[in-house]
């Protein structure tokens, strides 16, 4: 079953549910899940189940995916917000202007914004927050995207001017990841001082983190009073919690086998959203035999991605044929570029000078789904005479061996971020794809004057890396939010692990 029919059926099911549940009409929007409840409890506590506990509460000190999930948009806000369907909206920035040279950005801050500590937001806080991300000791995953900042000025309390060294059309988008923090705030690894609709209640490490509605919020008040994140290390324990109503919603279901117990039950809704997580078979494009595009194309054509996706996720997930997920503006369906075709694969291998195949080692992270996928790849490639030696490594070894030392032939890895096709423009990245034309397009795209221009260029990048089979993009993970039918208004796509909780309504 393809994705469109699945979501159609999903929508129909939701509609039917809404009709039976509240006797009214229901509808689903693309950006929030669940049936629209007629009456909801304005003071409800939403119990959220998640596998991703924050490591600490500071995203520039290695807080990880968990703190992004709990805090982005809920506790901390940026100048801009990346919406659940991938658009960039003004948030703490009321407005912004770009100078005629394309290098000077002037941001006007929204009036009446207060931090949870009571202090009013000023331009000094914005300057401090951006500088925190680009500081020498920053562990922010976004640090490198701000390398082009030349200076940050604060002409008055409401205005911030940022000057860039070179044009950067993604600058505003990148700012949506920068938390605006009170420049006086202390001990941010255990506490917070943001401007978001919730403030931190208590964080009981290893167990729960609660967010309480912030009475002084500048915008629309959240549709619930409290959100409690419950953290699990075991997916079965998480599913049990949902089955016993200890949690109302699971942010990201990671055990495909468990879905059956929810999809057939009218008390739950299984939402099939778009993720940005891609499973890659990444070649070391520097070293033979993978320095030859024909070899990479042959491998891509020899692996039946659909069968792999079906065996792991059943009817969920998407084939993309490239690095770009549908929520990125430059998405195109490129699954036909290197179709599954054994005859073609054999011909390409012969043309590349490997009529009898070859042998290579596949460095495989030891957690699901990598070992399963590696075994599948091994059996697929055996059909075209290629012998795969599976080498299981830990996530930690992966960073040292593959990411840092580039000591690998091929590896598997999940790449979680949106808009990360631009890594193919960096010849120094771990996979070593080096096409000067692509590097140039990526650079030009970043320096574009308009979004259309940027989109057109990145589409070319996308097409080129697919034509070169720079990597084999096996599939795009599904983003499955399972929720109690009494909930509505939760995010469906959870781009980059964000989970906006302020819209969640619990029926009264």
């Amino acid at each position: 079953m393809n994705r469109k029919t699945t979501s159609l059926i999903g929508a129909a099911a939701a509609l039917a549910l809404a009709l039976t549940a509240c006797g009214g009409t229901g509808s689903t929007s693309s950006s929030s899940g669940g049936a629209t409840a007629g009456a909801y409890d304005k003071d409800a506590t939403i119990q959220v189940g998640s596998l991703y506990e924050p490591q600490n509460l500071d995203n520039t000190e290695g807080g990880g995916q968990g703190v992004t999930e709990a805090f982005n948009g809920n506790v901390y806000e940026g100048l801009f917000r990346l919406t659940d369907d991938g658009k960039v909206d003004n948030l703490l920035a009321q407005d912004y202007k770009v100078g005629s040279d394309g290098l000077t950005y002037t941001f006007t801050l929204r009036d009446g914004v207060k931090f949870h500590s009571g202090k009013a937001l000023t331009s000094a806080d914005v300057k401090y927050s951006i500088e925190k991300v680009i500081a020498p000791d920053s562990q922010s995953a976004r640090k490198s995207s701000f390398a082009g900042i030349k200076k940050i000025e604060t002409p008055d309390d409401h205005t911030v001017t940022v000057t860039l060294a070179s044009k950067s059309i993604s600058f505003v988008y990148n700012l949506s990841y920068v938390w605006i923090i009170n420049d006086q705030a202390k001990s941010l690894t255990t506490s917070e001082d943001g401007t978001g609709p919730y403030k931190l209640g208590t964080w009981k490490r290893g167990s729960t983190l609660s967010l309480d509605r912030f009475a002084g919020y500048w915008g629309t008040a959240p549709a619930n009073k409290q959100v409690v994140f419950h953290y699990f290390t075991d997916a079965t324990a998480l599913n049990n919690a949902l089955l016993t109503d200890a949690v109302d919603v699971v942010t990201s279901e990671q055990s495909p086998d468990a879905l059956a117990q929810f999809s057939g039950n009218q008390n739950y809704k299984v939402n099939n959203g778009h993720s940005t997580t891609k499973l890659l078979l990444a070649f070391n494009d520097r070293k033979a035999p993978f320095d030859k595009p024909l070899v990479r194309k042959a491998i891509t054509s020899a692996i039946d991605n659909k069968k792999l996706l079906d065996s792991i996720w059943g009817e969920y997930g998407t084939l993309i044929g490239s690095m770009v997920p549908p929520t990125d503006p430059w998405y195109e369906d490129l699954t036909k570029v290197n179709p599954y075709d054994l005859t073609l694969a054999k011909k390409e291998l012969t043309d590349a000078g490997y009529p009898n195949g070859f042998e290579f080692t596949l460095d495989t992270p030891n957690y699901d789904p990598h070992p399963t996928a590696a075994t599948f790849i091994k059996s697929e490639l055996a059909k075209v005479g290629i012998t795969v030696k599976i080498n299981i490594i830990t996530a930690d070894q992966w960073y040292t061996k593959v990411y840092k030392n580039r000591d690998f032939a091929a590896t598997m890895q999940e790449h979680v971020n949106d808009r990360d096709v631009v890594w193919y423009g960096d010849p120094d990245f771990y996979w070593g794809y080096d096409n000067p034309q692509v590097t140039d397009w990526v650079k030009q795209a970043e320096e574009s004057d308009t979004a259309d221009q940027q989109t057109a260029l990145l589409k070319k990048v996308n097409e080129q890396i697919a034509a070169d089979a720079a990597s084999d993009w096996l599939y795009l993970y599904p983003q499955i939010v399972v929720a109690s039918s009494s909930l509505s208004g939760y995010p469906l796509n959870g781009l980059n692990s964000q989970f906006y909780a302020y819209g969640i309504k619990k029926s009264a």
């Binding site: 490490r205 290893g206 729960t208």
Partner: protein, 321 residues
């Protein structure tokens, strides 16, 4: 006795130091770099070096070891690499779950195992004696997580009388709520633990039942109950106490598995996460504290045995002379 206490304490301290050294070295032998858990794909080489420097893995090993010992001497377990928070208070917070879980399971297991083990021995030749013995044999073979999952399926998912996991956010503020969340985990541990305890109690009782002194006491006119109380119990309890010491220690460590099945915020979950992230201070801290607990339990068990059994005291006195 004083000399013994002194020697036993010295032994405890030396064991602890040895354990610390072994722990430290073994952890460093694991392949991998803890700095990696701070990184994400896209990290620059500068960021990688900064991470290594921040957590100090770029310093020579002996220097790292000495600085850790120095911290231990001042009861400081250091700070987690990953969360940057102090490890000591975090362990203390986790003990709020793990210690009650261990003690309650222990008490329950003893309460179940002692009478059952006694009956299994006393009535060894009857059909229910054999059944008790067989069931306890089976219990030893069953893995603890399986019992946990079974109990969850029955009492949480089907009957819906007890929570499937988790612990109240405000800990013991509401004792009833806290006890409710601990019920299934405690029963799980106690069931598995009592299975092996029953075996020990049964064999200790069998030894006593076949002993000459019990027969003599009975011949002198004591009732069975009185003979058992005066002579049997004291003799049977000695081997059981040394086993109890080991069992209590292994329950404490076995909590790791149970806590994960029941999503309890105890020491176990913290250890598993620490291991996955190569968070040396966290792993070292937990294992050091666990070692301390195990050694102290052994120490206490030894003392109790000596108090109960005069033979041990006397042989000791002879050795001391």
């Amino acid at each position: 006795m004083t000399a013994y206490l002194l020697r036993r304490t010295a032994f405890l301290v030396v064991s602890l130091l040895l354990a610390a050294a072994v722990l430290f070295l073994l952890l460093r032998l694991l392949p991998g770099d803890p700095a990696n858990s701070l990184l994400s794909v896209g990290a620059t080489p500068d960021q990688i070096e900064a991470a290594r420097h921040q957590i100090g893995t770029d310093r020579p090993l002996p220097e790292q070891f000495v600085s850790w010992l120095g911290q231990l001497a001042t009861f400081d377990l250091g700070e987690s690499f990953v969360s940057t928070l102090p490890v000591g208070p975090e362990i203390a917070a986790r003990l709020v779950v793990t210690v009650p879980l261990t003690l309650l399971s222990f008490v329950l297991a003893v309460v179940v195992a002692v009478p059952v083990g006694f009956v299994a021995a006393h009535k060894a030749n009857t059909w229910y004696g054999s059944i008790l013995s067989g069931v306890s044999q089976l219990g030893i073979a069953v893995p603890v997580f399986w019992v946990g999952m079974l109990l969850i399926t029955v009492f949480s998912l089907s009957l819906r009388v007890l929570p499937a996991g988790g612990f109240p956010q405000d800990d013991w503020a509401d004792p009833v709520k806290a006890l409710t969340s601990l019920t299934l985990p405690v029963v799980t541990v106690a069931l598995v633990m009592s299975a092996s305890l029953i075996r020990y109690v049964r064999s200790a009782t069998l030894d006593v039942l076949g002993s000459d002194y019990l027969r003599t006491s009975r011949a002198l006119g004591s009732s069975f109950a009185r003979a058992m109380w005066r002579h049997g119990l004291r003799n049977a309890v000695v081997p059981v106490i040394s086993i109890l010491g080991i069992e209590l220690a292994s329950t404490f460590l076995g909590a790791v598995v149970v806590e994960s099945v029941f999503a309890l915020p105890g020491l176990g979950g913290m250890l598993v996460k620490g291991l996955a992230q190569h968070d040396y201070p966290v792993i070292q801290g937990i294992l050091f504290v666990s070692t301390l607990v195990v050694l102290v339990i052994g120490f206490v068990a030894d003392l109790v045995q000596r108090l109960i059994d005069p033979r041990l005291r006397h042989s000791l006195a002879r050795n001391a002379r």
